[in-house]
């Protein structure tokens, strides 16, 4: 690239037309295959087969249409690492959502209605716990840390937003999620 004539030109890797058409044909064929397999009842294997075919198709698109096979390997590294981080995100989140209550079942209880926390409040504590910090926080706190904060005048969400928050939390338990995930 030192010569001036080379400065504004470069050598591209040009694939023959039949590669694009062949890959495209394979992709369409695999689409038909995945539709056909889905009509057969395989139980949980339907998901596996469909995802395997989708991954295969995606690899073809990446390698040939997006030139990952021929371009700078850095691009492939970027692509794979984005999937790796997505994998971390989904798998760890699923690890939580599917395992709540595995070790011990939290038995929650409302913050004591007669706690001196509410002494100076005009609004009566309608639903014990409140909205934005997550109701469990408050319930756990009152159970485990012995009300050491309960003397303070509760403000803000405790006083203003708790009706809707409490009602929603009740709705939450009835969502059909198997393990009770919060302390109500």
């Amino acid at each position: 690239m030192s010569q001036l004539t080379d400065k504004y030109s470069h050598h591209a890797h040009i694939l023959p037309l039949k590669v694009y058409l062949g890959i495209g044909g394979t992709l369409i064929f695999m689409t038909l295959v995945t539709v056909a397999v889905a009509q057969v009842h395989l139980g949980p294997f339907n998901l596996l087969v469909a995802l395997a075919i989708a991954v295969f198709k995606a690899i073809l698109v990446g390698l040939f249409f997006m030139h990952l096979k021929y371009d700078n390997k850095l691009f492939a590294v970027i692509f794979v690492s984005s999937l790796a981080f997505l994998g971390i995100f989904i798998s760890i989140t699923l690890f939580d959502t599917l395992r709540r209550g595995d070790i011990y079942q939290e038995v929650g209880m409302p913050i004591k209605a007669n706690s001196n926390m509410y002494d100076s409040l005009r609004v009566a504590p309608a639903h014990g716990a409140s909205g934005h910090e997550g109701a469990t926080d408050k319930a756990t706190e009152s159970v485990t840390s012995g009300d050491d904060s309960s003397g303070a005048k509760a403000t803000g969400h405790e006083g203003t937003g708790n009706d809707s928050g409490g009602a929603k939390d009740t709705g939450h338990v009835a969502t059909g999620v198997e393990s009770p995930k919060s302390g109500h």
């Binding site: 910090e133 303070a152 937003g161 995930k181």
Partner: protein, 539 residues
């Protein structure tokens, strides 16, 4: 040396990027990374001022028990806006987009970032997002806390949609900056600037940029889902619609924990530069300091659940997150130990930026170590949602990032504007900031460990003395920051004109004129040695 005898109207070397074009429009339409860096610097300064005013109002309200200035609802809005403005408008763009934009191409020996137009666009996106946030402010504020936790944020009747739209837009600004930096570092290094010759600031910005592009999109989709939850009731996060509010916390912290490293990593980069420049010594363990930036960036993606120990997430998940959290301490400690080792037998000169670097070491050690307390499951049950948390993250974000930012501004100020500020007032400003900061926030560790909950408008009389101390500290801190702003602005006109390298530093940005040439270097620099080689000429 490209020092040129020609001078402009102000007595600064000519041509330079400040005076080569004139008029407001030349700034608003500029593609020069240095000018865009200055535009960002103005933006974040306004945001910092705004967030600082909120903070002072909060502290004044807490001076005594009972109502002083504002009622509980206003207090909730104030702490929400303080958090949201400081995080999204100030600290995330602060070092990367303002200082990073300015120094990155200079340190690489490049003419500009890879995509100058995208760079300018990212600034306009930043302004647009900030306007949305401001709109939320004038239409009644937001009272959810900066974390926008569901289910409260789905039902709060404050301006949640406009501020989350603002944060959504700001996310794109951050993504574009990150993209630009990654490509610039990969493709636009000067001849001879190999990966093991990159200044540590560049390594830190690289790690930061990786987090920006990997994590910010998840924030964007999270906020979009929150907006959808409020408008359509989609039922992903809202328990009333069958959703899971804890899931929101997963989504939010998958971004926001790595975002903590978006804040601190570039600060660590600045500290590496300062320690090397003012010890006149090569950084000990260069490869480890550089590698630890990447390690922090990657480990940051595995520990988000430590923000959720008491949320109702799976106990097993909490235990694993707690375990993984301790690993983050390793690369952080590697950095601190290597910096300390660099100081040993270095020729230390206590210039103003170096004071901030030493202050950072002290404050970051406290902030980092208290993070380990909080990462421990059983301790966190006691300390969560108390002022201990508030003190911890202020020690990291303010004692770490903001101190590093101010140190970096003092370090590169003569490069940016060609003039030096008053050393005397610089020292006074540092002392006030350092003392004020510790008085404000160390007292919060104490009250937090005694059970003072965060985000409360009022407190028991027993906390009055310590709240009073904290508020006095905040006033000292505010005074210090005010003095810094005054003497820096004053130096723009009155400061003594300096040469290309007033500190005797070794990285590439000090080879060009101060302020730099519009194209950074008159001649393409060729790098022949490492970044902190103080013994031989390198260009």
């Amino acid at each position: 040396m490209s020092y040129s005898p020609a001078v402009d109207d102000n007595g600064l070397p000519s041509p330079n990027y400040l005076s080569s074009e004139k008029g407001l429009w030349s700034w608003l339409s500029t593609l020069d990374h240095k000018r865009i860096g200055i535009l960002y610097l103005i933006g974040i300064t306004i945001a910092f001022f705004l967030g600082g005013v909120f903070a002072l109002l909060l502290r004044l309200e807490l001076f005594f028990p009972g109502q002083q200035l504002v009622g509980p609802d206003t207090y909730n809005k104030l702490f929400t806006l303080h958090g949201a403005v400081m995080v999204f408008l100030f600290i995330i763009p602060s070092i990367p987009a303002a200082l990073g934009n300015f120094v990155l191409p200079l340190q690489l020996g490049a003419k500009d970032v890879a995509f100058p137009r995208l760079n300018l666009a990212s600034w306009y996106i930043y302004v647009a997002g900030s306007l949305f946030a401001l709109y939320a402010l004038v239409t009644g504020g937001v009272d959810t806390g900066w974390t926008f936790y569901t289910p409260y944020s789905t039902s709060s009747n404050t301006a949640v949609i406009s501020i989350t739209t603002g944060a959504f837009i700001l996310g794109f600004s951050s993504i574009f900056t990150g993209m630009n930096f990654i490509v610039t570092i990969h493709k636009l290094r000067a001849p001879g600037m190999t990966w093991d010759r990159l200044p540590l600031m560049v390594w830190a910005l690289y790690g930061t940029a990786l987090i920006q592009v990997l994590a910010t999109p998840v924030l964007a989709i999270t906020l979009a889902l929150l907006i959808m939850e409020r408008t359509l009731g989609v039922g992903i996060f809202d328990p009333a619609m069958g959703g899971d509010p804890v899931l929101f916390q997963h989504f939010f912290w998958f971004y926001s924990h790595p975002a903590v490293y978006i804040m601190i990593l570039p600060g660590m980069g600045i500290i590496s530069e300062l320690i090397a420049a003012f010890s006149k010594r090569e950084i000990v363990g260069y490869k480890f300091v550089a590698g630890s930036s990447l390690a922090i960036a990657l480990l940051g993606f595995l520990v988000w659940g430590h923000h959720m120990f008491t949320s109702g997430q799976s106990e097993l998940a909490s235990a694993i997150f707690s375990f993984l959290t301790f690993f983050v301490a390793i690369p952080s400690a590697i950095k601190v130990f290597n910096w300390t080792a660099t100081l040993y037998k270095g020729r230390i000169s206590l210039e103003v930026p170096m004071l901030y670097a030493l202050g950072f070491l002290f404050l970051f050690a406290i902030g980092g170590l208290t993070g380990l307390f909080l990462g421990t499951l059983s301790v966190d049950i006691h300390l969560h949602d108390t002022y201990f948390i508030v003190a911890h993250f202020h020690y990291v974000m303010m004692g770490g990032t903001v101190i590093a930012l101010i140190g970096g501004i003092h370090y590169w100020w003569p490069k940016m504007f060609g003039r030096m500020y008053s050393q005397f007032w610089g020292v006074v400003g540092f002392i006030l900031v350092f003392v004020g900061f510790n008085v404000t926030f160390f007292s919060q560790f104490i009250m937090g460990s005694q059970g003072m909950p965060r985000r409360y408008w009022d407190y028991l009389p027993q906390f009055q003395r310590i709240h009073g101390i904290s508020t006095v500290g905040a006033m000292i801190l505010g005074t210090g920051l005010f003095i810094i702003a005054i003497y820096l602005i004053a130096s723009l006109r009155r400061g003594t004109i300096v040469g290309p390298n007033p500190w005797g530093a070794s990285t590439l940005e000090w080879e060009t004129t101060s302020p730099p040439h519009p194209h950074n270097f008159e001649n393409q620099p060729v790098v022949t040695g490492g970044p902190y080689d103080f013994n031989k000429p390198r260009v």
